[in-house]
Structures are given as structure tokens and as C-alpha cells.
Symmetry: D4
Subunit: 249 residues, 8 copies
């Protein structure tokens, strides 16, 4: 539509019904016209079958259902993160094919177009069982974005043999997402074991001085393994998108 | 120049040497072409005689002198804030007419065009003598941007009669900038005395638990006088620009 | 009444029944007599039809209803902010004409005198849908204080074309209130697009490391766009009053 | 009893049944024997009719009732602070004469001996109505400890005339307790108005950047009025005891 | 002078040359006239021989000398705190009788009038030798304000017998100032040993996690001894003024 | 099993069916093979009858019951910490012999093998009654790990005679665990009274500025008694394991 | 050498001079033997011509020169980051071919083997000129690790047209490193413009409330553009290694 | 002496020259008399040849020399920590036999009595070379207190094979002190490898978000290896004393 507007404008310049000076002024005052039809990333995203994402926190079940239904009607895929518990049943009732992941608090409905597959496997590594909800959020998001996922679970550094035993799995991954609460030490060890990109996710798991994830967040930012990058506390979704940026490059 | 680029493009559409589809594509991929000649604010800034601003912190005397000279050669005014002590002499040597304010750590060279005058007077109010460097930075910036400035000095709330005695001065101001360290309580009192906009500036003055300005910053953000707004610690420059946005509306 | 007290005192000086020395002492010990009848701002506020404001947080429904009723009986307008959910029904029952805004958690009853209109429109801009409750609080407050309001919604910087598409709306505003959680980056972009005063409001929206609004608060205080000012976290009311100080100058 | 122990020991030294060397050793290894009967403060406290204090937070209604009953049976006075809501009824049922203060979350049962009266009046000053629960806790504690209390309510600095109007009341107090949330500015103003000791109490009242009382706490510690002292957030009890230490000196 | 102004005004009312209405208006618009001659605290301070105080931090030697000389010329006493090292010699040269305390970084020149003596002795207690500079600042200030001072030094709680050995000295004090860095635990012990007012001063002494005094500050605010009050980090001056408010009540 | 794998590999080297070079490569890629059968600590732990530990926070009753049952079936002992209230009944129903400690929120089922006894007694010292839940968690853990426990309760430093009266008990302990909230001062006093190892546990008990245990945590880290070590906030379990590392050395 | 150890052991198994059981035990107790020759990443790093890295902060010029010389003698490349100013001349004297970058505080000596080239170009984007030292550190590191680098400088969001004008450059990059201080808002905008991986680096540039980089760090962690990852404050080196992990995958 | 005082008192009770009641009173008012001769720990410390410790930070060279000389004259050993650089030469000149450790900033003069030897070896483990100064402080302190020390250096977890290669050394230690900056992850790994007590020391080494040691401090407090205890930032001395409490039990 917007694109039509500019096309019209150019058409009128071509047929002489609009002076160049006026066209120039019009364009100057509508810079986003040009931007609007140039958001290639979004179009590419759609072409690649990426789902639209609804951040469920702070939304009512009704709001989530309504937004989700409208997306589904267009045939697009959709992913709900931080799905509130009381929205699960209404959403599943409205969109029968939707896949609910209770642990990861996600809902995923694939679109008509399958997601373009990323290159390689993304390993999702967790230090302890309490980190699993964040891992699930990451894994569901990765799959929805067209990635193969492998799991390496409960390999915290206090029993260092556990992560060493999974070294081959880690070495085969194109990207490694490492999820840990408490001391957040696991990414430093993993970052030294593999040469692939490592994305660290702190979780809000732990005793008082973990300060809801601040402790592992700082640990990861200060990782002695060079080249480890970090996302927000409990943000499995963000880590998955970051990994998918790499596998789809 | 950039504007010329778009004009050329339109010219080629007008004379038929460029197809509309191709023009459309070109515009889509150069969204900032349109933006580049549309940054009216900047042009207006120049038309109004506003100086260009150099943030001196972390720059060498040589760098500052070089940048300043290049601006001055174009006949534009310039304002240096956070001027390092060892840059004063070189700068004054290079640009003889420049006005140095040692306390405020500023240098100001008016441009060929005088700054457009703002409406009304801006009052710069300080709680204690240690807040004066920040007040000077604000006052010099205000003057450079075309504002009348009045000073109300050393009226901290521990001697409440001091600020009450200056109530008339405060009431006459179009905007009031209130600068305070330590407890940062003055803006709350001033905000209750006047109906004009009040901009609060915390300073890094005080004993240990002031935490380099964190204490007055929090005080001001929590002001019980409704409608007080806050800028960064020691940021007299920012407060002056905010005030000037109001007086030049 | 208080004014009468001073008048009496002066009367007695005039008719010789009170010595000057004694009058002097009396005045010295009652400084607020003079202040009490000199609080022009308050009177002006009343003359201008400004409502009285009740901060509802931490008050019981009964307390809110009682205070509101007493104000309404005098014919004054009133605004309740942070209205607790369980106070909505009792309040609406007691004061039938009162306008409840569920999203903004406000209640507004206009006074007999209409509010004096401010100059120009205040734009209320939000980065995401989760910022809407704060925007509503600001919008209702602005209207109650006699301001025209325009809305620019869901224009977060991750899709920069969205805010650029609304550039004209922003450019037309006398004051721009920008509300954002998470990274709080929007005010920096808006501050560069407009020359009008920009008031930034951080919200407590986001993942763990947003620390209930601390992250966007710091972002906004450090805005690279000069002259952006900041209010407290989630304080749409404060931003509205600050804007209204500008439009009523 | 413990005192008896030492008396016995001395008796046995006196009658020769215990050697001096052995007595010396016994005393060396039981240093608190001597301390135990030397805790004059406690005895004086009892002599002065001070109540025993129960900190109710985190205790069950049963625990509170049991402790309170045991104290009451000895004829001692008792004061419960932070009384949980569900403990009010059981406690009032068990000890019919006990005075419940719902706002201050206290319960007070005077002892057989009246509290020794302190010298002068303690003024309890609040900035806003939300500070009243803390003020009540202070006032009840003060009364229980034998102090006269005067109230100065809702005199926050945003309307500076309010506190000035109560200047005489403030000037008459032996000690002034100033309670404020949000910007915590009131103690700085009061500290400049009176020469008596000023004890500041920050409250956890306010918008997000008050950080549950951290903001007014820092404000008060940085008060520009010399000689203002500070107690913990919401700690009306502590301020009252501090004041009572002064009035009972 | 200001007082003269009001007297004139009243005189003109008395002799009929000023109408009551006009006098009323004049007083209404000059509320601080009345305040100006009513700042009894200041006058009393002068009558009592209290010195004027110069906070030396951030002032040049020249500025300090100039201010000090002007005060001395009026015959007033003066106290400089946080005296910069390079200001010692110039100041001693300019005002020969001034007493320099190198450890406490103070300079004191008694006024013509001796300070009115406070009631009782103020004990200044330190946990370790590193706390002595703050203790000196407190002691010099106390003496300058007319107080008797006793010292209890190096009685940190890690050797609990040290403070217990000085229990009598502590018990005899009218006010106890307790100064401690590191764990800041001493005020809790002292607060349990004496019934007099206890003022705690945290110092910026200690290893990394003392965070420049934050650790002992929090310790003292959370003292389990009821009624301990706290001043700013390293603020020996503030503690002394607080104590003097008590001894001069 | 893993050990078998390496044995096979060596066997094949011995009988010539595997070349040394290939064996070298295989070992290089399976480093954890060697580690897997070398986790002596774990085996020793089992030999010593140590229980397996389940951290109950964030787990459902079902999950806890299932894990606990599987451990119990192997005849191992088990310890649940942070047992959620709604898991108590199901767990007690499933494993009849399990010992529930409601205050400490623990469940303990001894294994077939009794725990190897540690040398000496571990004293568990608390400052106030609110610290008891953490003390219980420590005491139950200590007993489960084979330690004798003595209790010293409610000996906070505000009544210093209380801890001095228990000096002998403290002096007899092999390790002293000191648990305190609020000012966290007790470990500094205890650390000066005994020469045994002292482990300090901050608790989340106290008024606002205790910041959920941050205040006592900092106090303890800054203890003026040399050689006091610290564990996480409310982490009675961690302190007990640390003590048990010492008694089992 | 270590590898030789295991080879010897296997040889002795092969020739029967070592029993399998004993070999098993030896391997069990020397798990790192196997690890030592299995650190493939390091070997690959060497094969790929990666330099060895010396973190210069806190090292003396002598130490740096000695370490650097020893590496250079083996023909390996080396990179010094955070090179102290007083180490520049000695290092350049000792290793004549070394390339010093004064702004980025780096020294680089390429090894005999050229670094294996990564795929694609890494864009290094800065918000302001004060971010350049960090950008230089990143750029030198990237080049040393075998990456093509493109620069996009001074495109802070306050002048949004600047970054939009460079959109094509950004779109062509395989990885984008975005460096910003103050509000740290740039990565959020860039993250919305490109689909490639975005690594954000906060810098310690800005006024007081930037808190040495804490403000932009939090901004970036909370980026509203999904999939932005973050490294430590001022850590250009870490961002470059993270980018190189991606381009060498 | 003090002991003599009590003996006298008892003597007078024994010979009838002092009544029991009066003796009782005397003891009540001199509780520390009894304590003074009961500080067994101190006496034992002296018997065991422990040195007296001087914390050098914030002391002048003169002060340090004077204190050290006085101790040395009594034949006691002494240990200076945090020895200022400018005190090294004067101290070495005054006490020729004293051993200076420049890296650890310590000076040690053994006493006439050799220190009683602790049981077993204390391992001092560091993650990186920047942690060595803290390690030296710990090692010198350990030796001065009579402990055998083994070193394990530069075994940070980013190259996990390094620490695994030293596993035997770690397993042989009676106590393990683990020193690390940046991510502080090493104690979690070591805590899982050994069953001995592990004492973690965070150092102030690292990029910006290490916040002068706060990051590794939090990491260590949240260690996922149960039973790791923590001391203050950079406090090698404290860790050594804690270890020595264990080896001397």
C-alpha cells in the first residue's frame, strides 16, 4: 500500500503531472514511506516461515487468544512465550493444533510454510534441573525457527566429569547455548572446550545471594573463556534467536 | 548533495531515462537519502545560531583544538563542555576570541549568527557552593543557546528561609533548574513554590553514602513535588538544553 | 481566616492597641501566617480548574471514597491514581459521574470549573503494548489538567521504521512524553527527531536484568540525545504534570 | 539465681571451704556469672516499667500469644510490634486488657508498674498520610516507654508552608522524629528549623525508584542539616527507643 | 536589617502612612522577611559561641583562607572540616591562633565568646586505629561546640574483653558516639551495654566487600540493639553535632 | 561399565587387535572414560553413608516423591532441603520412615549404612529466634552427615552477656556455625572467642535496610575477627556441609 | 610429551611389560594425561595461525616483554591487549616488527603462519568518538584472528539518520559488533535492521549515572531487538573473539 | 595484674576484711576483670608462636616501623600485611632479619618461639597470574602460622585440563584455598574434585562488570559445589587464618 503511494508519486513524476521539486518535498516529509516497503528483514522472515512471537507475560488469556487467532487466520506460524497458566486451556481450545509446552511455558503453531532450516545443530546445555524451564523455552524457540536441537542436561561444574563426558556432543554443535543459575560457572568451562559460538543464559535459580540471577549474570559477563556472549536472565527465547541468527547466516 | 542525488533520480524518472520500478527499488535501498535532506531540526538549529557542542572529557588538547578550529572556520559557534585543564591554554591560543569559564570547565565561541533568543528567563538555583561548577556549565550553555539566566545561589533547605527569601525570583522564571548534591532535597521545595517547569540536577557532592551523586539522583526522581524532572548526575549541560527546548518552543 | 489574623494584628497596630515591638514578635513567631494566604500557586490551581489528586496506592476503598466525596461536595474536580481494583465499584457507586480508566487505574471527576487549557498537544509515545497502563495514567492526567493528547503507540526502536513513520505526529507536539521499559532506548531516538521538550518515563516491564525498571531508568538518564529529562519508574502521572507545567507556562 | 551462685562461691571463700585459687579459676571460667547479675540496664528497665518487646514478624499467632501470656503473668508490660493481622483476635481474646493499634500493627499491655516518664515531649512528624503506620508504631512505642507524644501530620516539603505553620510545635519538642518516604526531604528542613535532636525514619512508600525505602534512606543519611541521625527503613520502633534514650537520660 | 524593614512597615501602619490592606499585601509577598529575623536557632547559635563551619572538601586553599579570615574578623569562632593538606600552611599563616588537627583534618579558631557547655560527657569510641581520623573530627567538633569528650579507643568486638573492660567509661557518658569500619559491629554491642543515646558512624575502612563503608553502614542501620541511630559514612562531624544537639537540649 | 570400556580397549592393545596410535586417539576423544571410574569422592561418599540430597525448591510434590523413592529403593539415605509445605504429606505417605523437620523444611531418611561419624561436635549458634529455621536446616544436615550437634540459641550481641555465658560450649566445639540476620555481628564476637573454624551464615531476617540478607552478608564478609568464612544467605545446608568437610578430614 | 607418556604406557601394554589392570589404574589416576593431548582447540588454534594473547593490565613492562619475546622466539604470533603506556617503547624496542595501536592499547606481532581467514566481514559499529578505543581493540583482535573488518563510526541513535545511512554496510556484514556507552541504545536499533548476529559491547563512557558502564550494560541485556548478545564492559577483545568463533565455524 | 586484683578481693573475703555483699558488688561492676585473665585464646596464640599482625593499609611508614619494633623487642614474631611500598626500605633497615615479599606486600619476622605446626598441607590454588599477589599474601601468612603450603598456579576453568592435571596435588591437601577473579568459577570445580574444606577468595581482577571483585564474590557464595566457604575480596590473609584454624584444631 505504502509502496503504492511512492509508485504513484513516481508515476506522476514520469507523466509530468508532478514537478520534481514537489516530489522531492513529498519524499522528504515521508521518509518512512520508503522505509515501510524496505523492511526486507521482515519480509525475509515471512518468506523463511518464521513464526510471529507473542510475549505472554502481563497479557490476559483473552488478549493472547485474540492475537493468536488473528495470526493463525493469515496462515502464519506463531509462538507464545511466557504463556500464563490460565491461558493454556482457552488457547488450546481456540487453536486445536497448537503445541503447548508446560515446562517451557510456550505454545507453538507452525505456519503454512515450513521454517527454513538453519545450518547445524544447536546444543542446549543446562547446569541443573532447575534450569530446565529456560532450556525448554530455548528449545521450542529453536525448533520453531528451523533449527535442530540437541540436549545436554544437568552437567553443572561441581561434578566436572559430567560435562567432560558430553564433550563430543558439545564439539559437534554449530552453536552452544549454556544455561545456568547459582554460580553460573558452566559457560566458562564449555567456552574452553569448544570453538563454536557460546551463548550464556543466567537463570534466577539459587539461594539469597544469587539475587534473582544477578550472580550468574555477572559470572557469565566475566567469563575467563574468551568470546562467550550473554543474554538477559531467564531469557531462553533471546538465546535461541541469537543462535538462529548464526545458523541462518 | 544527498538531496541532489534524489533530485537526479527524479529527473531521470521525469525524462524517462529511469523506469519507475527501478526508481522505486533505488529509494527502497536508500531510505536515508530522504532522511538526509529532511533533518530539519539540525538545519533549524543552524538557522537559530545554536553552537556545535564538543564533549571534552576523554579528548586530548590536540583533538579538541582541531575540532574547534574546523567549526570556527565555518563561522559556526561552538561550545566545549568538560574542557580538560590542560586544553585551556592551547585552545585560547588557537581561537583568541573564545570565552573560557574555568569553574564550569567550558569554552564558548559565539557564531556569526546570534542565537535565537528563548522566551523568558531560566533560573539556575544551587543548594550549596560545591554545586557551582555544575551551575556554571548550565549557565554558560543556556547563554550560548540564547537564554537569559538568573542565579539563585546557596539556598539549601537546611536554612529554609534562604530559598523562601528568593521566592519572587523563582516565581518570575520561565523554567527553573535546581542543582543539589548531598540530600538533593531542594527541587522538592522549589517544585512546590513555583508552577513553572522544574528540572533537577543531582551533583556528586557529599559524604560517602552520597555514592557520587546516587543519593540526590534518587531523591529527585522521588520528589514529592509533582512534575519535577531529572537529568544525569553533574549534567548541567543537559539541564540547560532541556530548559532551552522549553524556552524555544 | 489566617489572613484575617494578620489583618487584625495590623488593625490593632493602626489603632494603637498593639505596640510595634509586640507586633513584630508576633509576626516573627508566626511566619506561616503570611505564607498561608500567599500560596498563590494553589489558588491559581483552583482558579484554573485543576483537580485535586488522590494517590490511591495503600489506601482502603473506604478511605478513597470518603476523601473523594468530600472533595466532590465542594464542587472541585478530583483525580485518583493507582486506584486499587477493589475500590472501583464503591467509588463508582458513591460518585456516579466519575470516569474510571481500568487500564490506567485512574478515576476522574471533572470539577464545576473546566480546567484552563494548555497550549499545544502533548504526545504520549509508547515503545510496547506492556507500557500502555503507564501511558493511560499519563493521558488521563493530561486531559484532567486541560491538555490535548495525541497517542503514538508501539513504536519501539527494534523496528525503527515504526517511530520514523510517526515523525510528523511527533514534530507537531508541544511536549513529547516517551514511555518505555526493557532497554528504554526510545527517548534517545525521539529526542533526536524533535526539538520540543521530551520527558522520558521508564516502566517496570522486562526480563530479569531490567530490575523492575532500573535498566530503562539508567538508559534514559544517560540518553545521548541532549535535553531529555526523566521521571520515576512507571510514573505516568508525574510526566503528565511536568508536561502540563510546560503547556500552562 | 546466678547472683546466688557467686554469693555461694564467695561464702565458701569466706568460710574457708573454697580455696582462693579455685575460686579464681571458677570465676575465670564463668565470666558471665558476674555479667549476669550486672545487666543493670535490664533491671533498670524493669524498675522503670519498660515493657518487654515482641517482634511479631515471622511468628505464628500461637507463638505470640504464648510469649505474651507468659510475660503478662509476671505482671510485666509488653509491646508487640509488627503484629500479624491473624494474631489480633487470638491475642485480644487471651489478654483482654491489651490495646491493639491496627494502623501501627502494635499491641500494648501496660505493666503493673507505670513507665518512668521521660523529660519533655517527643514530636512525631510525617510527610504524608502513607507514612502513618510507621508513625503509629513510633507513637505507641513512645507512650509505652513513658513519653509524651505530639503529632505533626502531612507536612511534606512540596507544600513548605505546611511544616512552617507547625514550627512552634516543632520548637517545643525535646526530640523530633521525622518520618518520610519518597524523597525523604523533610528531615533536612526540620533539622534546620529546630535545635533539638532530630531522628529520621525512611519509609518504603513511593514509586519504583524509591526502591522500597532506599531512596529516602540515602537522602536522610546525606541530610544537609547537620546532626540529623537515621534509623532503618520503616523502623518507627527503633526511632522511638532512640528518642526515649534521650528523654530518659 | 530585614527586621528593620518589617518594623518600618509596622511604623507606617501605626502612623497611618500605610494602609492595612497594602501592609497585608507586602507581608504576603515577603514571607521571608518575617522568617529572616526569626531564625532564632542561628542567633542562639551565635549567642552560645558556636563556631561557623567551613566544609573544606573541594575548596581551594585561597577560598578557605578568605572565608575563614572574614569570619575571624567578626570575632566569631570557626571550624574547618575536611581541611585539604595544601591549605594547612596558608591557613595557619593567615590566622596564627588557629588549632590544626592533622589526623582529623580540622582547623579550629575559638570565637570571642566561649561556647556554651553541654551537659555531660560525650564518649567517642573506636573499633580500630584506622577509625581514628573520623574520631578526631568528631572530638574536635565536640570540643568546639562546648562538650567534654572522653576517648575509648581500639575496642573492636573481635576481642570482646576490650570493650567490656571500658564499660564503666561508657556507662558514665551522656552520649556515646561509636565509630567502626569493616563489619561495623561495635555499636550493636555498645548499644546493649548502655542506656544513653548511641550514635553510630560507619567508616570507609576495610577490604573490598566493605564497599567504601557501605557494609558497616548497613550493619549499623540493622543493629539488633534497639535505638541506635546512624550518620553518614566517615561523618564524624555530623555525629558530633547530633550529640551536641542532645547535650545542649 | 565405562571402566569396562577402557579395559576392553587396553585388552585389544595387549592382544594386538588395536594399534597403539588408534588407542591413543580413542582415549583422546573419551577423556571422561577415565574420569568416570575415578570419581573417588562420590564412591567414598557412598561408602561413608552420606545421603543423596534433593533441593526441594521449585520442584513439585510428585517430582520430589519420585526422586526420593528411587533413591530409597537402592537403600541409600536421602535428605530433602527446602521441602515445600505441600510435599510433606505425600512424601511422608510414600516413605513411612522419613523424618520431617517442619521448622527446617527438611526430610531425612537414613540409608542402610550409617553415616561415618565426624570428629568432634559442631556448635550451631543463632543470634535470634527468627534464625531458627536456618539453624534447623544446618542441624538436620549435620546429623545426616554423621556429626554431633550442640545448640547455642538466641545469643545476639545486643545482650553480650548471653554469648559470653555460653563460652564454654563454644570453646568445646570442633567447628562453630554462627547464624544471624539483621546486623550479622555475632560471628565477629564468636570468632574472637574461639580458635576453632567459624562458618558464618547470614539470614534474610530484618527491617528494610537488611535487604533480604545483604546487610548481614556484608557484615560477615568484613568480620574484624580474622579467619571467619561465609556461606550464602539462609544456606544452613551449605554451612553444614562445610563443617562436615572439616570434621571428616 | 604428555602424549608420549600415554603412548609409552600403551606400548608397554602392547609388549606385555604392563598388565592391563595396572594400566587401567594408571589412567584412572591421571585423567588429564588423556586430556592434555586432546586439547584439539588449542592445536587447531595453532594450526590456524591464531596468536597467543597477553592481557597487559597489571603486568610490568618487563613481564610483558619477557613473555612476548618467548612467544615470538617460537615463531608464534602474539597479541597484547590493555598494553600499559610505559610498556610501548620497551616492547617495540625488543620486537621491532610489532604493530602498536596506541588508541586501542594493543600490540600485534603476526606469526609465521598466517591466520586462517574467517568467512565474511565483521562490522565494528560505534555510537560516539569516545567508544573508539574499544572499537580499535576489537578491530585489531579481529584482524589478528583472520577476519575482514569494516568500520561504521559515530552513528549514535540521537541522530537516527546516521545509522540508517549506513544500513547497507550493516546488511553486508556476517557479524555486527556494536559498541556504545551512555544509553547503550544503538544495538537495539541495529538488531532490528540486520538479521546477522549482533554482539553488543557497553563502554564506560558517560556522566555519573552511567556508573562506569553499568547503564549501557543493562540497556543491552534488555535490548528489545531479539537475539542481541552482550559481552563485558569495554571488552572489545571479547566481542572480537565471539565474532571470530562465528566466522570460523 | 588484673588477675591479681581479683585474687586480692578474694583474699580479703577469705580473711574477713571484705564483706561478701561488697565483694559481690565489686565483681558486678568489673566484669572484665574476670575476662581479662581468661582470654585463653590469646595466651594460647602466644604459646603457639603465632606472630602479631599489623594491617599496613592506611598507616605511615613511621607508624609501621614503630609498632613493628616494639613487638620485635619483646621477641614476638610479627607479620605486616598490605605493606605500603614506601615502608619497605625503612622497615627492612630497622629490622634487618625481616623477610619482605614484594608481590604479596608482606613482611614477616619470625618470633623466638617457632610457630606450632598445623596438620597437613594447605594448597593455594590460583586461576590466573593476576591473582598471584593475593596468593602470596595467603602463602606468607600460612607459613608464618606454621603451615606447609603447596602451590597450584594458573589453572582457570577456561582450560579445564589444567586443574584436572593437578588433581592429585589437590586431593592431598588438608585444606584448599582457591583464589580467582573475573568469573570466580574455579572454587566450584575444585569443590567438586576434593572432599577437604575449600575456602574461596575472590579477587578484584577483571573487566568492568567484575565491579572490583563483586562478580567473583557472588559466584563463590553461590557455588554449586556444596560446602565451599568464602572470605572478603582480595583477602588472602583471612583465608590463610581460616585454613590455619582448621589445621590447628
Amino acid at each position: 500500500m505504502r509502496r503504492e503511494h511512492v509508485r504513484d508519486l513516481l508515476q506522476r513524476v514520469a507523466d509530468g503531472s508532478l514537478e520534481i521539486g514537489n516530489a522531492l518535498t513529498a519524499l522528504a516529509f515521508e521518509p518512512t514511506e520508503s522505509l515501510a516497503f524496505a523492511t526486507i528483514d521482515h519480509q525475509r522472515a515471512l518468506r523463511q516461515g518464521f513464526p510471529e512471537v507473542i510475549y505472554g507475560a502481563g497479557k490476559t488469556p483473552d488478549q493472547i487468544c485474540e492475537i493468536a487467532t488473528r495470526i493463525a487466520e493469515r496462515g502464519h506460524g506463531l509462538l507464545v512465550t511466557r504463556l500464563p497458566a490460565d491461558a493454556v486451556e482457552p488457547l488450546a481450545g481456540r487453536l486445536p493444533g497448537i503445541e503447548i509446552n508446560a515446562l517451557g511455558r510456550t505454545a507453538h503453531l507452525p505456519g503454512r510454510e515450513p521454517a527454513v532450516q538453519g545450518k547445524g545443530t544447536v546444543a542446549v546445555v543446562t547446569a541443573g534441573t532447575s534450569d530446565l524451564p529456560v532450556a525448554e523455552e530455548a528449545a521450542v524457540t529453536l525448533a520453531a525457527l528451523g533449527n535442530c536441537v540437541s540436549r545436554v542436561t544437568d552437567v553443572g561444574v561441581a561434578g566436572i566429569h559430567r560435562v567432560l563426558a558430553r564433550r563430543e556432543d558439545l564439539g559437534n554443535a554449530a552453536v552452544v547455548i549454556v544455561i545456568a543459575g547459582m554460580d553460573g560457572a558452566l559457560p566458562s568451562v564449555v567456552g574452553g572446550l569448544v570453538s563454536a559460538p557460546v551463548i550464556a543464559v543466567p537463570t534466577s535459580v539459587g539461594y539469597g545471594a544469587a539475587f534473582q540471577g544477578l550472580a550468574p549474570l555477572l559470572t557469565m559477563l566475566n567469563s575467563c573463556a574468551a568470546g562467550v556472549t550473554v543474554v538477559n536472565i531467564d531469557n531462553g527465547f533471546g538465546a535461541a534467536v541469537a543462535a538462529s541468527r548464526i545458523t541462518h547466516a
